[in-house]
């Protein structure tokens, strides 16, 4: 059964107010087309998670759609601190989000535990720091410090996470949802597989036979996937290996715009609210900056040697 639909349909059908979302894209392959659609549809009171969050999470927070953030980090990379994140925490604009703080070891381990059906998982970080002294909405269930039943040593346990929906962007998928990715993985695989439903956004939809030619690249199999959306340029201003580079110039524009509340809303109006979909977004990009700068982001071809799975 084909699961191919538009991003608008996927977000409208499978993302609800109050949902807990894993949004893939640790620097690599952020599902920006879907994030913009969530903002357009105004999904509210979301809980969002990913290790190393960036401009995409900052935008959702600034748009007022986030109630809770299970996070490790949020910044604009070379462009510094997340402006909307700061305004939310420091000034309550548009409201103060609740943050449960973990690390880039403990959080992906919690997602891994979720993906493996484990109730919790021991981790060897966080102890002795103020990360143990601050507990937000997870309260006493943020962690448990126990004496190991094996050797009696202090051992930190953190709970499994099972998001309602995972949204990821990958290079290619078939119409059934078998999703293939290459390049820096971040916490995409564990995050997607921990979730109850997965929305796959991809650069191209390929035939099932193409998937079968190199099946080791599949990170999520079809039965976990509820929607497949073809969104070329769908991670912009982030990058997709083999397709296009990070758009650092655009990242700077977001930083400049999000310096003020007014600038941020003008940015959202121009790039999200007044834009119906990613195709129009790409057209707007080319109209505004020219075909040259758009083309310049395009990746060069440098194919690997083909692999053979024959026997």
């Amino acid at each position: 059964m084909t699961k191919v639909m538009t991003t608008k349909e996927a977000i409208s059908q499978f993302v609800n107010d109050n949902d807990f979302l894993f949004i893939g894209g640790y620097v690599c392959r952020p599902p920006f087309a879907a994030i913009h659609e969530i903002i357009r549809q105004g999904k509210k009171n979301l809980t969002i998670t990913r290790s190393n969050a960036a401009d995409d999470f900052d935008m959702l927070i600034g748009a007022g759609l986030v109630r809770r953030f299970i996070g490790t980090f949020l910044s604009l990379g070379v462009y510094g601190l997340g402006r909307c994140f700061r305004r939310s925490i420091e000034k309550g604009i548009p409201h103060k989000i609740e943050v449960e703080e973990y690390t880039n070891l403990s959080l992906p381990m919690m997602l891994m535990a979720g993906s493996f059906g484990m109730p919790f998982v021991p981790v060897r970080d966080m102890v002795g720091t103020d990360l143990m002294n601050i507990k937000s909405f997870m309260g006493e269930n943020k962690f448990k410090l126990i004496d190991s039943p094996f050797d009696g040593k202090p051992t930190l346990l953190v709970p499994a996470l099972n998001p309602d929906v995972a949204i990821i962007h990958v290079q290619q998928a078939d119409k059934f949802g078998n999703a293939q990715m290459w390049g820096i993985g971040g916490d995409c695989k564990v995050g997607a597989n921990a979730a109850k439903k997965v929305i796959v956004s991809c650069e191209r939809i390929v035939d099932r036979d193409v998937i079968g030619k190199d099946p080791s690249r599949t990170i999520v199999p079809s039965f976990k996937v509820v929607a497949v959306v073809e969104e070329p340029f769908g991670a912009h201003p982030g990058y997709t290996p083999g397709f296009y580079d990070t758009d650092f110039g655009f990242g700077y524009q977001y930083q400049q715009a999000s310096n003020t509340v007014e600038g941020f809303h003008a940015f959202l109006k121009e790039w999200v609210y007044d834009i119906p979909d990613r195709k129009a977004y790409t057209q707007h990009y080319i109209q505004k900056f020219g075909y040259g700068p758009f083309k310049k982001l395009e990746a060069a071809f440098d194919y690997s040697f083909p692999v053979s799975y024959a026997y």
């Binding site: 640790y26 601190l81 420091e90 703080e101 690390t103 981790v123 060897r124 103020d130 820096i184």
Partner: protein
């Protein structure tokens, strides 16, 4: 430009100080900027077999431009391995394979604890910072952590506002009491004025060397705790000709490292 004898700038000296802490065959987790520069200087000089990795999942990258983030596109082609976050943070770092980690912090205290979460009260911060990211697990689990910091009374502290990443916590064996692995923890703080090395027993950072042009008195005045002076205190060795050649000809022909001068690393 600098007034130093062979024309080096302070960020170059600091990068070399980091490089000298890396031994051949070390496994090193790097970020961007100083750490990447330091590790690459080491690889091109005394530690050709050091293995660099980025927490995002990359081992032994061969970038053709300086990486601007730990997940930068240029880290993909040419790497020995591109996996995921848990490969690096779990399978390598947590499992004890990482020798050296590099960290910087908005605030660092005398026990090497680092704050990257919030300046001021956590609930009502003056400045909300990004958070731990990979810093806490690196500081918890790498055998040696090198800390880069600006040397003034705002960045260095008797006690950080918030311990995001553990150094020696309260000192005197606190890491072990919390269950952190033995023989891990901060090795030194490399500042723009000095190298402060940790006394592994007390957990305190002590003055080991002062960079050319700086005095012990000046450094003590700019350190917010009663800084102990190691017996063998000496002037930091300036960058060698070979180190400078590696930086300027191979690693950073466009002199991107000079942006650190604008950030106060002078």
């Amino acid at each position: 430009m600098s007034a130093h004898p062979n024309g080096y700038i302070k960020p170059e000296l600091m990068a070399c100080c980091g490089a000298r802490e890396i031994k051949n065959h070390h496994v090193v987790i790097v970020g961007t900027g100083f750490p990447a520069m330091s590790a690459n200087i080491a690889k091109h000089t005394h530690a050709p077999d050091a293995i660099l990795m980025q927490e995002s999942g990359v081992v032994d990258a061969r970038p053709k431009r300086p990486a601007l983030s730990v997940g930068d596109p240029c880290l993909n082609p040419g790497a020995a391995m591109v996996g995921n976050l848990l490969d690096i943070m779990g399978m390598f770092l947590q499992a004890g394979w990482v020798d050296v980690g590099f960290l910087s912090g908005s605030q660092v205290d005398k026990f090497g604890n680092i704050n990257t979460t919030a300046i001021g009260d956590y609930e009502h911060p003056k400045t909300r910072l990004p958070g731990s990211g990979g810093a806490n697990p690196i500081g918890s689990l790498a055998k040696k952590t090198l800390i880069i910091a600006l040397h003034d009374k705002r960045r260095l502290a008797e006690r950080v506002d918030f311990i995001t990443t553990p150094g020696y916590i309260d000192g005197n064996g606190a890491r072990e009491r919390w269950g952190l692995p033995a023989n891990t923890g901060p090795e030194c703080i490399i500042t723009n004025k000095a190298i402060l090395r940790f006394d592994k027993t007390t957990g305190e950072a002590c003055l080991e060397s002062y960079h050319p042009g700086h005095s012990i008195d000046e450094i003590r005045e700019n350190t917010p705790w009663d800084l102990k002076i190691l017996e063998n205190v000496h002037e930091t060795e300036p960058p060698t000709e070979r180190e400078l050649e590696v930086i300027r000809k191979i690693l950073d022909p466009h002199r991107m490292i000079s942006i650190y001068e604008k950030r106060g690393y002078v």
